[in-house]
Amino acid sequence: MKKFTLKNIATEAKLLLIGIPLIIWTLIPVYHLFLFSISTKDSATSGHLWPVHPTLQNFEFVLMQKHFYLNYFWIQMWNSLFIALMVGFFTLLISTFAAFAISRLKVRGGRTVLNLALFTYFIPAAFLAVPMYKTMGQYGLLNNQLSLILAMITIASPYSIWVLKQASDKLPLELDEAARMDGATPMQLFRLVYLPLMVPSLVAVGTYSLLLAWNEYLYAFLLLSKEDSFTVGVALGNFLSADDSPWELLMTTGLIYALPPAAIYYTFKRYMVSGLTAGAVKS
């Protein structure tokens, strides 16, 4: 227990002076989102910091799809979920294979593959979007959710390979040797030795790609163009195009759309933070 000296109190006060503004700064946009969702339109647009008559009516409108902007709300939620799950699963599959082959089997050219992946990782995502959109047209995949899934796998896997490769390098090589002495094939080595040891990193990478796909806006809005194939993010962007949009419903939908990634993040926080900061920038 620290003594309550004047100096200690001053230090705490200084820390609080940083902490409190920081919380306010972080939460303002989120609070405003919440404020809109429990306000009627009149109340939300007249500058109240707390609604005169808080209401859950907006949630009822959104969840019951009671507005023509929301006709496809549940389908779009499903689309977002389906795309995120597919991206998460296939990114995990592809990048685990690649990391295992490069790090444990030491395949020839592994170094090159890793460099290619790193190169893709560093290309600004919006720059790749233009040619990607044109080629998806050539492949005949436009307006097909497959195009978004493939695009997001392309964007998520380089980083995943990189993180998984870093984590695999840390596993002792003796394990592989021992398993091979016992006559394990590479596939058995992969399934019985490698995968169980990699679980924390796999959770980190899976969560990362899932969130990346769920949260994506640019690629989703370029590649999807039918209301019933939109993700929720694209549908929200479309609200903006009209002048008389029901802003309070847009914000309510936005809040609902933001909840799953927050929940997933906090559930897997332990894995995310160590896994991702370790890979992002090597010190």
Binding site: V130, M251, T277
Partner: protein, 261 residues
């Protein structure tokens, strides 16, 4: 086992990039690009965004990392909340800010009116102010991530060094200057460069907040490329990206060398 990734790489990276370059092969595209006044504005905006915006963000992240390594129960709670912008999708939060800034019914201007009786500024209708707000939006969104990286870097500095310095009577500034900064400057530099490369691809902060407006004055390269694409001028979209390559590629290769050591 690397074949699945290589397939993805060749079908969705190599071919599109090659095809994109082929689309931008005519010198004519570049002439039209350079003749477009919006392009100059975009280049300036992008440079301001990278040089001013990113450096401000990284300096704040460096200072905040010093705050978050303090051991207090309430600081761990703040750090849980602080990470939120990074985990949440961009679109709801950016639209939330956009509505706050609405000159007629946004909460900021209605509050200004109620408190002072004067009309607040027309935030997003002033190109300079709108670009600044887009930078603020970008900082709000990505500050947590970089703070986290720098916190990790700070935590890897051995505590004994600070203890020894305290014994010798070093001030906080001297501790930062002679212990913290020397062990962090490499990762700080790397983070800054990486953040600059990625920010070139930050479409959301600008597009969702200002839409490139007013009068296409707040575009950055990321949104300009998409604007040309929407106007069906793919060659200009690609040309604007190709023009950025001489600046981007050296940074990318620098990063690759750093990471694959």
């Amino acid at each position: 086992m690397v074949v699945p990734y290589l397939l993805i790489f060749f079908i969705f990276v190599v071919y599109p990039v090659g095809y994109g370059l082929w689309l931008a092969r005519h010198p004519d595209s570049y002439e039209r690009l350079f003749a477009d006044p919006i392009f100059y504005r975009t280049v300036i905006n992008t440079l301001v965004f990278l040089v001013v915006g990113i450096n401000i963000k990284m300096v704040i992240a460096l200072m905040l990392s010093g705050f978050f390594v303090q051991k207090r129960w309430w600081i761990s709670i703040i750090s849980m909340i602080f990470i939120l912008p990074w985990a949440l999708p961009s679109i709801p939060t950016i639209l939330s800010v956009r509505f706050m800034l609405n000159p007629e019914w946004g909460i900021i201007n209605t509050q200004i009116f109620q408190l002072t009786g004067a009309d607040g500024p027309n935030w997003l209708n002033d190109p300079v102010l709108a670009l600044c707000l887009a930078m603020v939006m970008h900082i709000w969104k990505s500050l947590p991530f970089w703070t986290l990286i720098l916190v990790a870097a700070r935590l890897s500095i051995p505590g004994e060094q600070y203890e020894a310095a305290s014994v010798d009577g070093a001030t906080n500034w001297q501790k930062f200057r002679f212990i913290t900064w020397p062990s962090m400057k490499t990762i700080y530099l790397t983070s800054t460069i990486l953040s600059m490369i990625w920010t070139l691809g930050d479409f959301n902060s600008v597009y969702l907040l200002t839409g490139g407006g007013p009068a296409d004055m707040t575009h950055v390269l990321a949104t300009l490329g998409i604007r040309y694409l929407r106007l069906d001028q793919v060659d200009l979209a690609m040309a604007s990206i190709v023009v950025a390559m001489p600046f981007v590629l050296p940074l990318v290769f620098f990063m690759m060398k750093r990471l694959s050591k």
